[in-house]
């Protein structure tokens, strides 16, 4: 709070004071009062007034400076009411009380929304478990009745399952609460589940699926990682290039600090200008526009999940040559020492 601005803000009362002092002085002169008395009255009046201004300025400054400073420091601005003391001037009190009221009402509103979101999330999770039942049933029916058996049906069922999973993991990725469980996971097992899920479509499209991951272990939630890898592999299958023998190759690299899982394909690749945007929500880019089933959500969700799990996901690609997605896992030093 600046004194000059404070004076500017109070110019009316200062002006009024000067006028009144001037009038009093004129009146005293016209009553032929002693000159010394006039000077005395004027100095007393002016001094008193200035002292008052300074006092008033400082008690406001004390409150507002702390207020603004605290507000700057706060990450969550709405917590300001917890930081400031009740001021000792009238307008300050009004502001203080109003802030409390506003905060309270906002907190109530937010609570209402977060309960709604929680309810919605629970409903979606429940719905997804329900939706998986007819899927499981259909898979069994197709398998049991060979006369109905058709790869086309199982492929569509797989697609449906993927889409349902995507909703589930979108809800999980957007949710603030921690509903994953980190434990030591063998990458080969995760890859194997993804491979079996995609077996039919890989075979049908003559895509060679090469895996060289040894018995590398990482710290992650295996179900989440399975979803992430499935998204990436699904993309590789979607964006195959017709003039080559299709290949998806999954490898791992390991050093002292981390493990990198690399998923490479020799598909159509991604244009240079699109690469920085592939993890953005609903981004479909040039490739997406060529394929109807692109929602632009898969990689976005994968990135969000990686963020939560503490992994780093990156993409490297050259148009009409290859795409390689890398997931970087940190090694836990503590765990290694504990072993």
């Amino acid at each position: 709070m600046k004194f000059s601005k404070y004076l500017k803000n109070n110019y009316l009362i200062i002006l009024l004071f000067i006028v009144i002092i001037a009038i009093i002085d004129l009146m005293l002169i016209s009553f032929k009062t002693n000159n010394q008395a006039i000077v005395g009255v004027t100095i007393t009046g002016v001094l008193g007034f200035i002292l008052y201004l300074i006092y008033d300025f400082y008690r406001r400054k004390k409150f507002y400076d702390k207020f603004i400073n605290d507000l700057d420091l706060l990450d969550k601005k709405y917590l300001i009411t917890e930081m400031i003391e009740k001021p000792n001037f009238y307008e300050g009190e009004i502001l203080y009380d109003a802030l409390y009221e506003i905060d309270k009402s906002m907190a109530e509103k937010i609570k209402e929304y977060s309960l709604n979101i929680q309810d919605f999330k629970e409903y979606i999770e429940m719905w997804i478990h329900e939706a998986k039942l007819p899927l499981a049933s259909l898979n069994l029916i197709v398998h049991n009745h060979k006369e109905l058996s058709d790869k086309k049906i199982t492929e569509q069922l797989k697609r449906l399952d993927d889409d349902i999973e995507q909703v589930l993991y979108y809800v999980r990725s957007e949710n603030a609460e921690k509903d994953y469980l980190i434990k030591e996971t063998e990458i080969a097992k995760v890859i194997s589940n993804v491979a079996i899920k995609n077996k039919d479509i890989l075979l049908e499209n003559n895509i060679d699926f090469e895996v060289e991951v040894g018995n590398t272990k990482v710290l992650t939630d295996s179900k989440w990682l399975e979803f992430i890898v499935n998204q990436i592999v699904s993309n590789s299958i979607k964006y195959i290039r017709n003039d080559v023998e299709h290949l998806i190759k999954i490898t791992t690299e390991e050093n002292n600090k981390n493990v990198i899982l690399k998923i490479y394909d020799n598909g159509i690749g991604i244009g240079k200008s699109d690469i920085p945007k592939v993890f953005d929500k609903t981004f479909t880019g040039n490739n997406g526009r060529k394929i109807e089933t692109s929602t632009g959500m898969g990689l976005y969700i994968a990135k969000q999940l990686c963020k939560k799990l503490g992994h780093k996901i990156t993409i490297d690609s050259k148009e009409n040559e290859y795409t390689e997605v890398s997931i970087l896992f940190n090694k836990d030093d503590f765990l290694n020492v504990a072993k």
């Binding site: 997804i128 478990h129 329900e130 998986k132 039942l133 007819p134 899927l135 499981a136 049933s137 259909l138 898979n139 069994l140 029916i141 398998h143 049991n144 069922l157 399952d161 589930l168 509903d179 994953y180 469980l181 434990k183 080969a188 194997s192 491979a195 079996i196 899920k197 077996k199 890989l202 075979l203 003559n206 060679d208 699926f209 090469e210 895996v211 939630d221 295996s222 179900k223 989440w224």
Partner: protein, 220 residues
């Protein structure tokens, strides 16, 4: 015949599951009385239980704990609850395996088969007529001769052997191969089968693996 109890409240799934198990040579039994699920399990005395988590009355995890207090019967949790927490919990309560819906039916059968094998702790040595098959060592032999089978050839041969006399589809073979981390393609499967045939011919079983057009293979 091994009795497998299906604890699942979705009737469509439980009936198809029974169908699947019966076709695979097991005796599938569906649990009906969820009010007294534990008593019925005891009465049925199955060789293996397929247990869902979301079932009426006592939920699957609680039922699992109750069973484990008294019995070591193999239990596979079959559920649509696809979270690490549920899996870790189930395994810590004593489930032998955990598989999520929707699953590949062939994979479910493989898991059941593996579990039986693991529990019976068989020495893994199989026989085909006068041949001895040792999957662990990857060899096949008779009194005079011994041949090495590759990993893939062995997977194919043991699968055919386990289903001897029945038609095995290419898809089943592929699923078993992929389930063992051999992600081979159709051509490679053909090559492996023809190599296996050649090796069997060496032992004098010329047409042991017969091709049924449009259906699959059958080991005579």
């Amino acid at each position: 015949m091994k009795k497998i109890l299906i604890v699942e409240d979705d009737t469509s799934i439980s009936e198809e599951l029974k169908n699947l198990l019966d076709n695979a040579g097991y005796n599938g039994v569906i649990l009906k009385d969820f009010e007294n699920s534990y008593a019925e399990i005891k009465r049925e005395n199955p060789d293996l239980i397929l247990l869902d988590i979301n079932i009426p009355k006592l939920n699957g995890e609680m039922l699992l704990q109750k069973i484990r207090k008294e019995s070591n019967v193999p239990i596979i949790m079959v559920t649509s609850k696809n979270t690490e927490t549920d899996e870790v919990l189930s395994l810590s309560y004593g489930a032998n395996d955990y598989i999520t819906k929707p699953y590949n039916p062939t994979i479910l059968l493989l898991r059941i088969n593996n579990l039986f094998k693991r529990i019976e702790n068989k020495n893994d040595i199989l026989t085909y007529n006068d041949l001895t098959v040792d999957p662990k060592k990857g060899i096949i032999k008779n009194d005079k001769e011994e041949l090495i089978l590759t990993k893939n050839e062995m997977i194919i041969f043991t699968f055919l052997l386990a289903n001897r006399g029945n038609i095995v589809t290419r898809d089943d073979l592929m699923t078993d191969l992929w389930n063992n981390d051999s992600y081979i393609n159709d051509n490679a499967l053909n090559v492996n089968i023809s190599r296996l045939r050649t090796k069997l011919t060496d032992f004098g079983y010329e047409d042991a693996i017969e091709t049924r057009k449009g259906q699959g293979y059958i080991l005579k």
